[in-house]
């Protein structure tokens, strides 16, 4: 009996080892473990054994059954794995995945996003104002003389009611100071308009970023440090900033900022205007507010502004400014990231 069990066990495991496909394996399972399989038949023949012999042979038989079951189980898994693997044998994972149309934010948005992020780290909040402005907000309050050329109908778009399309985002400075006492620390990105013929380097509508910081004892040192920090964050630590004395009606002293960085071809590029807010601007605000919250004897401030369109053109080597507004997807999709 013992020999019989051993020989069945060995025959079964040998044929399991030899099996090369699942049907063969299934046939082996039926032959040994099925209802009339050899191991099952041996089980039945246990009846003929003596009470003393039964436990020993029973345990031998169970051992054989589980051994064969395990062998079949293992072999099944191995054969299945081989079959599954072969199903992927032809799979070429190097083929590309079908892509959705590539989306992208506008290059100006991306540049503006970088600038806004830096100013926010420096503690500036955003502010905004309308594109349609009054002469007061765009010129008068900014200390612009009544006969200043910028007010000319040749250069500025007017509405029939005498209002105008703002020629710079500096009007937001006035809006903010009208409505909020110091301290003020804001940036204002937005559209501005000049009555320019559209060509490769001019648009009638362009994008600017304005900034204003007004508090007690703000100085030229704050202006210099803040803007140097900003431009070095934007263009890299090695960026050189040159503050060139200039003139704006609404700041005194006034500077233009030239930047020199490898990103912009390593030559000086005029980038921004800035200066200490002119006391005449604060006086105009005081008069409008009817209080002395912006008394230039008590507070001071700096302001700056720069255009984003030219900067984007230079950074991205865009040859024609009109490409920024043409909405050609062959252009826009290049800026997907």
């Amino acid at each position: 009996m013992e020999d019989k069990i051993r020989s069945i066990r060995e025959a079964a495991t040998t044929s399991v080892d030899a099996a090369n496909d699942l049907p063969t394996l299934d046939a082996i399972r039926v032959r040994y473990l099925g209802k009339t399989g050899e191991i099952s038949l041996l089980s039945q023949s246990m009846r003929d054994l003596s009470k003393e012999e039964r436990p020993r042979f029973g345990s031998l038989l169970n051992e054989a059954r589980s051994l064969v079951t395990d062998a079949i189980e293992q072999k099944t898994r191995a054969l299945e794995a081989v079959a599954e693997k072969s199903r992927y044998a032809q799979f070429d994972a190097t083929l590309p995945g079908p892509t959705l149309s590539r989306g992208a934010s506008h290059p100006l948005t991306q540049l503006m996003g970088k600038a806004v992020a830096i100013f926010r780290r420096m503690g500036f909040s955003l502010a905004d104002g309308p594109d349609i402005e009054t002469e007061f907000h765009c010129f008068d309050a900014l200390n612009t003389p009544a006969d200043h050329p910028a007010r000319n109908e040749q250069d500025t778009f007017y509405l029939p009611d005498g209002r105008l399309l703002r020629t710079h985002t500096s009007s937001v400075q006035i809006r903010v100071m009208e409505n909020q006492p110091p301290p003020i620390r804001i940036i204002a990105p937005g559209a501005a308009y000049r009555r320019d013929e559209v060509d490769a380097t001019h648009l009638a509508q362009f994008t600017q970023m304005e900034g204003l910081y007004v508090a007690e004892s703000v100085s030229l040192a704050d202006l210099k440090g803040s803007l140097e920090f900003f431009f070095r964050e934007l263009f890299g630590a090695e960026t050189q900033c040159r503050f060139r004395p200039h003139f704006f009606p609404f700041t005194e002293p006034s500077y233009e900022i030239d930047i020199r960085t490898a990103l912009l071809g390593d030559s000086w590029m005029e980038l921004a205007g800035c200066g200490m807010v002119d006391p005449a601007v604060f006086e105009a605000i005081c008069q409008k507010r009817g209080d002395r919250a912006f008394d230039p004897e008590k507070i001071s401030g700096f302001a700056f502004g720069f255009g984003l369109d030219r900067l984007a053109m230079n950074l991205l080597a865009i040859p024609d400014i009109r490409m920024l507004v043409e909405t050609d997807l062959r252009f826009l999709r290049q800026f997907a990231n």
């Binding site: 079908p98 029939p160 003139f247 002119d278």
Partner: protein, 784 residues
Amino acid sequence: MKISLSWLDDFLATGLDTPALDDTLTATGLKVEAIESAGVSIQNLVVAKILESLPHPDADRLSVCQVDDGSGSPRQIVCGAKNYKVGDKIPLALPGAVLPGNFKIKPGKLRGIKSEGMMCSGKEIGLGADSAGLLILPPDSPIGHPISELFPSETVIELEITPNRPDWLSHYGVARELGAFLQKPVSFSPPPLPPTIEDSSLASCETPVCPFYSLRKITGVKVKQSPEKIRRRLESIGLRAINNVVDITNYVLHELGQPLHAFDAAKVSGPICARQARDGEEFLALDGKTYRLTPEDTVIADSAQVLALAGIMGGSTSGVTETTTDVLLESALFLPQAIRKTSRRLALQSDSSYRFERGIDPEMVLVAAAQAANQIADIAEGTPAPSSCTTGALPAKSATVSLRHAKCEALLGTSLSPTEIASALRRVGMTQLSENEGVTEWQPPSFRHDLTREVDLVEEVARIIGIEKIPSRAASLAAPQSPADAAYDFQNLLREKLVASGFCEAKLSTLVSASQLGEKENSAIRLKNPLGEDQSFLRPSLLPGMLQAAQRNFHAGTKDVRIFELGSVYSNTGTEQQGSLGLLASGPARETNWLEKKPADFTFFDLKAVLQSLFPSLLRFENTEKKNLVVASLILCGEIEVGFAGILEPAAARLLDATAEILVAEISWPALQSTQTKNTGKFSPIPKFPSTSRDLALILPEAVPYATVESILLACNEPLLASFAPFDLFRDPEGIRLPANKKSLAISLTFRSSERTLASSEIDAATEKIRVLLKQNLPVEFRE
């Protein structure tokens, strides 16, 4: 404004090379726009005479010339030019010469024939663009003479002059500024001034626009060409030389900044008067144009006619010509605003008006007149009258300005000694009048009209000490979120989702044409002075511009157009300027790929999916009718209409050359921003018990939209109904499986309880309740 460096040298030896000069000018606030060099500075380039020219034995196009270079022995040059004849004088580059482009001249052989130099064209030596042949020099050019002496090199710097600094509008003015920065003396000795007399029979002044007028007669002038030096200098800064008298007035203007004018005394009848123009009075100016004047304009007139438009331009009939013998030299002071007004109105600008409208130096009026009179005496051999006739008075010295040193330090953010401050101000020509406990009192120089307030002096201190001496400080402030911050962040959120959905951001012009107003014609805001009709309105909607952009893309061969814009729209009713989001999609939803033969086109429901992802579970869609849209859907948030979505009429899409449906949507996003910020977003427990679904197949008349079914189900009040969704829509146009005017809508209902696993009987009961409810409200049948 152009400045000639050699002219500048008359006043100041800067001792700087061009780059260093550029830096110094920049530091003063004089922005260098361009640096141009004219003339020739090439060494080993001489005048040579062609003695002989024979054909090259081995090259048809070349000649072999013998030339005289002044060395005593002829020199052989092989040459390709044809425009010369034997005996001509030409520029000859000798071995060792370096021509522009670092082209070094060496002795060599051309097709086997020795050539010891190169005969040059004008272009080859940097004179003009003409390269048609050799530069033929005047016959009297001395042989062997360096070309650099015939065409002396001249560097001209073009400067941007800010409107606050008219004192920079002359060579002397720029020299004065450089002298202040370099702390070097500026050499200018004003000529002695002649005595002045007032004589109204010669000159009078009837208008406040001319506070001071001077006239000096110079007799016996010989009008001819100006000397070389004057001509060259005027031409180097872009002026045309005319005759010696006119050239001298222009020369002194650019030298000292004071505009002057010379009349031909023979063409003036009676006393000269500065007065208001008469209404309608006509004036023929030097530019050949006739101007019609108004009383707002100021003229210089005699008893018969207008001689000049004051401070702007002389007349064509009273000017100095070859026949002039006696000259009346005018030097005056005109008020800036009046000159600016006339100049603007007539669109007539001159070097003279440019200076008057910014403000001239009153102390220079008589100095410049004397300087010009002396030069006319020297050069044109005229005899100036012993005295100058004047009328009116030059303004008194400008008001003094006091400076608190503490304020100066506070604004500049650095500490400065009183000596540093005082020295800086003295360098720019200020005179200190007093000092008292940290406050100094200053007299600005006559040429600085821009120094009237304390802060103006602070600026001068900053300029002179230089911003590089100011420390950099970047103190910060805690910045609370503003409404603009919230709007910016919300737009970025929308933008990120749209970009991830494959949309590209457009930035279109806010100025549009009348044809792009669509149905918002009446509420659109029109500009008073547009640049052209195609940019005459502020856009009332984003879509017309986006449709135009789509067309450009179709024309460029792009089929999968997916664009959005986050911009402003404008209206003369309600909110004037409002944020808006526009979307446009057309063509294949995916790029062509190996898995799909032809990727499906983006559909209206794809667009809806994008909109729903932007504003999860906020939006409702209601069928509507809209101009130009074949399918239109109102977008609502609660009961507020926030926008619309739709399919462009196929005919309109074809007009744009689209090859697929064009889907559009426009949403006023600010209305949705407030709902987003109110959403507190609390956690709801994750369901513990399984859900069970039942499907309902509704047979509905075509006229009943899904939205009706949806609203009934949303209102059904069945606590076990967790969610529902349509999963099939079936129609049978043949009318076999379903009547042709009906549709079959299959909806899957999902039931769940948070307390227990639901029994089948409970779900059946709930489903039945819903069926009854639908039946009560709709002409519906159910398919089993």
